[in-house]
């Protein structure tokens, strides 16, 4: 087995992981798994960087993205209700859903079904679930009976939980078209190839470059980070004086 063949094998498996996990991020219902998939994609990219003799960049890639993604994941868990375990992951299975949406929740197509008399009840039914959290932990989806839902309730729930907007088909088309366009351009352009391998120690050279030729860019990036920190803190700061509780969350806490 030649070293070239091994390199090909490693390349193919890493590329496969990077692409599949990136696609998986968009598809999965579970926020935590989505973040983790993205992390895996980045780590696979770091592997590709090592194949490209860019060890320093691989290390930077892992450092920047694993920590950053973990924080991102936590925000997603916080904002999009993914309280752990297989709950979100197994939801589709538990609901016995079929059709093209079998992988992720999508915005239902077509007009909403007519409203029933008890159409308002669904919000109450959901708040019931919030209130009765008494188990020592854990979430059991089996007691959520999907069969008893009316079409209207089902529709509302689908709208509530959809991961994608209604323009998903167009998005897929655009994504494919842009990728294809890029591929065609890549193949048609004659790239000037150099048949040599890098010899110098990247960390030393990059360090010297950063502090000589790209000094201004380096300092600019530092300034940008400072501005970013200040901006993020300012945006995310809790304003204790004027707290606005949205009416819907107020209702949710009330006893039915």
């Amino acid at each position: 087995m030649s070293s070239g063949l091994i390199e090909w094998l490693i390349f193919l498996s890493l590329a496969m992981i990077a692409i599949v996990t990136a696609a998986g991020m968009i598809i999965t219902m579970s926020m935590y798994r989505a973040g983790l998939a993205l992390m895996a994609s980045f780590v696979a990219l770091a592997g590709l960087f090592i194949l490209l003799n860019a060890d320093l960049l691989a290390a930077i890639q892992v450092m920047m993205n694993v920590g950053g993604m973990l924080v991102m994941v936590l925000f997603m868990v916080m904002m999009m209700m993914d309280p752990g375990g297989e709950m979100m992951w197994g939801m589709k299975r538990d609901m016995h859903m079929r059709g093209p949406g079998a992988l992720s929740m999508h915005m239902p197509s077509g007009p909403p079904p007519p409203e029933e008399q008890e159409g308002q009840l669904d919000a109450g039914a959901m708040s019931d679930m919030d209130v009765q959290e008494t188990e020592v932990g854990g979430h059991d989806m089996s007691d959520m009976e999907m069969g008893s839902m009316t079409p209207r309730q089902n529709y509302t729930m689908m709208v509530d939980m959809a991961m994608s907007t209604a323009q998903l088909p167009w998005a897929i088309v655009l994504g494919v078209v842009s990728a294809l366009l890029l591929v065609i351009l890549l193949i048609l352009t004659p790239w000037p190839l150099a048949g040599i391998a890098p010899t110098q120690d990247a960390s030393r050279v990059v360090g010297e470059l950063l502090l000589s030729r790209y000094m201004i860019a380096f300092e600019g990036a530092a300034l940008l980070i400072l501005a970013g920190i200040a901006g993020a803190v300012l945006l995310a700061k809790r304003e204790r004086s004027r707290v606005q509780t949205p009416p819907e969350t107020k209702q949710r806490g009330e006893q039915p």
Partner: protein
Amino acid sequence: MSVFITPLFVVCVLLVGTYFIAVIEQLLRLGLRSIGIALTLPLANAIRLLYQEDLTPRGADFFLFRSAPFIALAVVSLVALVIPLGPTLIAFNPSIGLFYFIVLLSPFVVAITNAAWSQNSKEGLFATFRAAAYLISYEVPIGFAAIGPVMATQSLSTQRIVEVQAGLWFVVWQPLGLAIYLIAALFVSFRHPFDSALAGSELEGGAFAEYSGGRLLLFKIALAALFLLLMAMGVVLFFGGWQGPVLPGPLWFALKTFALSALVLWLAHFFPRLRHDQMLTLSWKILLPASLLNITLVGILTLTIPVGR
């Protein structure tokens, strides 16, 4: 052939080192007199865990739950590659060895958060958040503390850092860096005063609450190995690694590592478990300014005193 022998060797060394860390822990708990028990108890514990059933709780994220201990162990084994045991005894010697070491610490936290999150309980969710908060807090001080020796060496290679310390250990003129490094190392390895993500009391076991049997054993090995590796890196950075008279290099290295581990564990046992917000305060308000101060001092010393080179 060496592609297969090197990892095997690294894993064996790690397991032996982990065993000695467990022995040191038992000795600190039971007292020096019961050394016989301390030597055998870790093995008896491990055997006991191996005989136990390996449960997956109902409603757990099957894939993440089952894979988390292996991720942890894989990360630890990868980290171990860059530790120089002797003048030529190093599995992998890249030019950015130290950077590689610090970078690979964060995937370990991912393994812990996976374990905590996948177990389908609220306590686990709390543990996830805590572990992630610690990841952000310790990455900065441990990196800054490690920069001190790098400044003096002008290289990120672990082997080079050890070679430079032939005359004078860095601990002599960077004691502040060592202190910051050791505290941050306790943070990273979820050790006693900083173990509230895995705490027994309020989160009912935290991240490992649902693990049993073999997988729990794997996690415990991974945690102890991580602590061992951090202490080993501490020896590399501040105590001259394998440098020493008379005895062969690897032996010196082992002696220094276990002595440092014992010292750190002994100091840590004087403190009660800290609350999570106290830990974060310690990191951001004390360790971070102190490490900046350390870098300034080391910079001045490196430039003025020739012994720093």
